[in-house]
């Protein structure tokens, strides 16, 4: 938490990259974090299983918005096959900080939207926590 606001999260929050709409997106998915009202809509352009373009709109806290912006930036050119394997770790690597059990939901919102939007996976993305 300490380096929370030292990371470039505030920068992405204030100046979100890939904010806005795509023309004729292949996938549009809206998702919310109901505990706090974070909302995002992601839009993807897919060609041959590769993310050709991506954008988002939304509002919410710095974590959810920066996380979404960073992800939209990072997934460009990546294959859906690769993205399907993404989990908590990949998002936290993007954000570059540790996140506690409550706000992890904000950070993982774009991943949740991606998985639900592309593969219809409704299951919780932090299930990998579930190694017993």
């Amino acid at each position: 938490m300490d380096d929370f606001f030292r990371a470039n999260i505030i920068d992405y929050y204030e100046h979100p990259r890939h904010y806005g709409h795509l023309e004729n997106p292949d996938i549009v998915y809206h998702d919310v974090n109901p505990t706090c009202g974070d909302e995002i809509t992601i839009e993807l352009k897919i060609e041959d299983g590769i993310v050709k373009d991506s954008a988002f709109t939304g509002h919410g806290c710095s974590i959810s918005q920066a996380s979404t912006s960073m992800m939209m930036e990072d997934i460009q050119g990546k294959s859906l096959d690769e993205l399907r394997t993404w989990g908590k770790k990949e998002i936290l690597d993007l954000l570059g900080i540790e996140i506690g059990p409550v706000r992890i939901k904000c950070a993982l919102l774009p991943l949740k939207a991606l998985k639900a939007g592309v593969w219809g996976l409704e299951s919780s993305v932090d299930d990998e926590d579930d190694d017993l």
Partner: protein
């Protein structure tokens, strides 16, 4: 609720009281804890923690059935706790206190037990737009199951109930009016006694959500004449895992049981069963024994430091000071009524700062507040706000903690370049 003049109460010795709470010695990120999340749950004095310790270390046993010393001691202490609670809210009898897990379960108990049997298509349940989800969703569900209709008393932009609508909304169709005695978002304290009277005038029962009020001000169920009152131990210095439902004995006697199993029965045959007397009829299985004892100890503690009148008085001072101080922060907007009409909590929004981020910055300074919908999404929707930040006080908070809050909010503004 009718608040009396409080000039004569002995003031709470806050410095002394703080020493009763072990957690207040905690350091958060290296700085002392400033706990302003009391509306979510209160801290626990050593006396409450120790009462439960003593139970587990010296007399732990199951209740009501055992013919041995530990069981008799446990039973006596469990029932003594019930009596303390009955007295605390001025019930007529300890039999009118049912132990539940929390205020939420108390409301669900009434919804299932009274609601399933007594609501029919055409009937109406009336709640308000300032309810906590605990006093909304159970009524949505039970109306769905029974065909009854759920209606809402609207709120004004100032955070009051719009009482002008009452005469239209409370009709012969209204079977139950369920409303909070203190909003956990606005802090608003509605005129409970008058609302109960109006409901009774059309023949409706009343359920008062006392989750906030019982913890923060005197509540007298006989003076209010409400039919049900729901509240939780954990918000009033007691343990987690236990709450209470007050119900008028005549009503509880008539109601079907809710959870069934051991202890709530009189006799069980293969094809049917008969019920124990109240309140046991509503307490199935091994109860939260240690927690009941802790709940009783919490009531003792609240009485010992001066009582609810004194606590309410102190919180009025604190909320007045807090709202005065917050007013000076540019771009900060508080929601809800002026201090005189509310309990000791205040929710606010700040230009360009998301409540989550505010809470995160405050946390770095050791200050615990809550950010979000506070389990009152319809209220936020009505006001067109996404989420708010809430600072909520209890009798152990210091005026100096208000200054720390203000400083930290200003730091958040700087950090986010506002």
């Amino acid at each position: 609720m009718d608040r009396k003049q409080v000039n004569t109460v002995t003031p709470i010795d806050v410095e002394a009281v703080r020493r009763d709470f072990p957690v207040l010695e905690r350091k958060i990120h290296g700085v002392p804890l400033v706990y302003l999340d009391n509306a979510a749950t209160s801290q626990k004095p050593a006396a409450v923690i120790e009462a439960m310790n003593r139970f587990y270390r010296q007399e732990n046993s199951n209740v009501h059935r055992g013919i041995h010393a530990l069981s008799e001691e446990s039973t006596a202490d469990y029932e003594a706790a019930r009596k303390k609670l009955a007295k605390f809210i001025h019930a007529k009898s300890r039999r009118e206190i049912v132990f539940t897990r929390n205020a939420t379960e108390s409301i669900n108990l009434v919804a299932y037990s009274w609601g399933l049997d007594n609501l029919h298509p055409g009937d109406e349940v009336l709640i308000t737009e300032m309810e906590h989800h605990a006093n909304i969703v159970p009524w949505q569900q039970i109306c769905r199951r029974t065909g009854a209709t759920l209606r809402y008393v609207p709120i004004t932009p100032q955070g009051y109930l719009d009482l002008s609508t009452l005469d239209n909304l409370l009709t012969e169709k209204t079977k139950l009016f369920a409303f909070t005695a203190m909003s956990n978002v606005f802090g608003t304290i509605p005129p409970v006694k008058m609302l109960v009277e109006k409901a009774h005038a059309v023949g409706a029962l009343t359920l008062v959500d006392g989750a906030q009020a019982v913890s923060h001000m005197p509540v007298d169920v006989r003076a209010l004449d409400c039919d049900f009152l729901a509240f939780s131990a954990h918000k009033m210095c007691g343990p987690t895992g236990i709450g209470a439902l007050y119900g008028k004995a005549a009503l509880l006697n008539k109601m079907s049981p809710f959870l069934t199993g051991g202890d709530m029965i009189l006799s069980v045959w293969m094809d049917h069963a008969t019920w124990n007397e109240i309140p046991h009829k509503f307490e199935a299985g091994t109860p939260a024994i240690a927690e009941a004892i802790g709940f009783g100890a919490a009531v003792d503690y609240l009485n010992s430091i001066g009582g609810m009148e004194a606590i309410h008085h102190y919180e009025q001072e604190m909320i007045t000071a807090a709202m005065t101080a917050l007013q000076d922060i540019e771009g900060l907007r508080m929601i809800g009524p002026p201090p005189a009409d509310r309990g000791g909590l205040v929710s606010f929004v700040m230009d360009g700062l998301h409540p989550h981020d505010i809470a995160a910055v405050l946390d770095q300074d050791g200050i615990a507040v809550r950010a979000g919908y506070h389990c009152a999404q319809p209220l936020h929707d009505r006001l067109n706000i996404h989420a708010t930040t809430r600072a909520s006080f209890y009798f152990y908070n210091l005026p100096s903690e208000i200054d720390l809050l203000v400083q930290s909010l200003q730091r958040a503004q700087k950090l986010f370049g506002r």
